[in-house]
Subunit: 149 residues, 2 copies
DNA sequence: ACTGTTATTAAGAATAATTCTTAATAACAA
DNA sequence: TTGTTATTAAGAATTATTCTTAATAACAGT
């Protein structure tokens, strides 16, 4: 399943504004790469983004995908999902939520929060420096992997 | 600062027991590598472990460090710290705690929890599968990096 | 203690993910 | 339309990690 085109288009407008604000050029590569991450629900890795983007921009290079994902991250338009795997995975959802990581297949699922479940910053966290963000990782075996064993 | 020798020795006994229980051999490499992680407070990466271990076992190979860290992780004796960096970092502390990750220098700090601060599993988390563990990452700029700018 | 079995190791080659280098291209300001 | 310069494609290079192979050593059984 993918996020609706309406929501994705709104996010692309936001990207364009953010680019202009920062003096960055609005290139088709940037738009298409961001759209891939924004519309996907599976927190794709660089390779998955590359494969999808290639359908629209067949000459895209792997380097452009990596470079663009890094710059989108710098802009705060996407986030890297903390995982313990060699491949980085990306998420364009800025609203507070957590992740369920399957230790077997590496799949990442979004955990929606109940109203009262927003995380409190641990009392001792601020002792170490200025906090930028915070997120909770739940690790386990996903339902798909459970049945496939 | 490092963990006290007394605590570390206790952990090494636990490692030996765990090895025997699993039919794994108690080799000097395994002990020394585990001791490095157990006594360190900085969540060392494989390279840091390798450099320290080499002082005691000059012929140790990089591969042995990687292989041993992976097997210690399988045994549940150490954990990989989730980070967004290419180098994996390890932690031998099994008590519940969180991490402050500096996005600038990559340093990892332990966040001790107040008594009432234990994490609740998010209501929707279990929908995705069987939960193994859970941890909170706080990201920001550490004090050291703040002053060095 | 000795011996055989087999897990573990060292060494270095191989791999996988990512980043760098360079010259060409294209966004966009003027 | 043009010039400036950020961005790109291509492919080489790098970095962290894993694999392959033959040698070594832990330890169970004698």
């Amino acid at each position: 399943m993918q996020h609706s085109e309406e929501i994705v288009n709104k996010k692309i407008e936001e990207l364009k504004n953010e680019c202009k604000k920062r003096g960055m050029r609005v290139t088709p590569q940037r738009i298409v790469i961001y759209r891939e991450v924004a519309k996907s629900c599976v927190h794709p890795d660089a390779e998955a983004v590359y494969e999808s983007v290639k359908k629209e921009l067949p000459n895209i290079s792997f380097d452009t995908v990596y470079r663009t994902l890094a710059s989108l991250e710098d802009m705060g338009m996407i986030f890297r999902v903390d995982n313990q795997l060699p491949k980085a995975r990306f998420d364009a959802d800025k609203t507070p939520h957590h992740h369920f990581l399957c230790v077997n297949c590496g799949e990442v699922y979004d955990i929606k929060l109940e109203d009262k479940e927003d995380l409190k910053i641990p009392a001792h966290a601020a002792e170490f420096g200025d906090i930028k963000d915070m997120n909770l990782q739940v690790r386990g075996i996903c339902n798909k992997c459970k049945t496939n064993k």
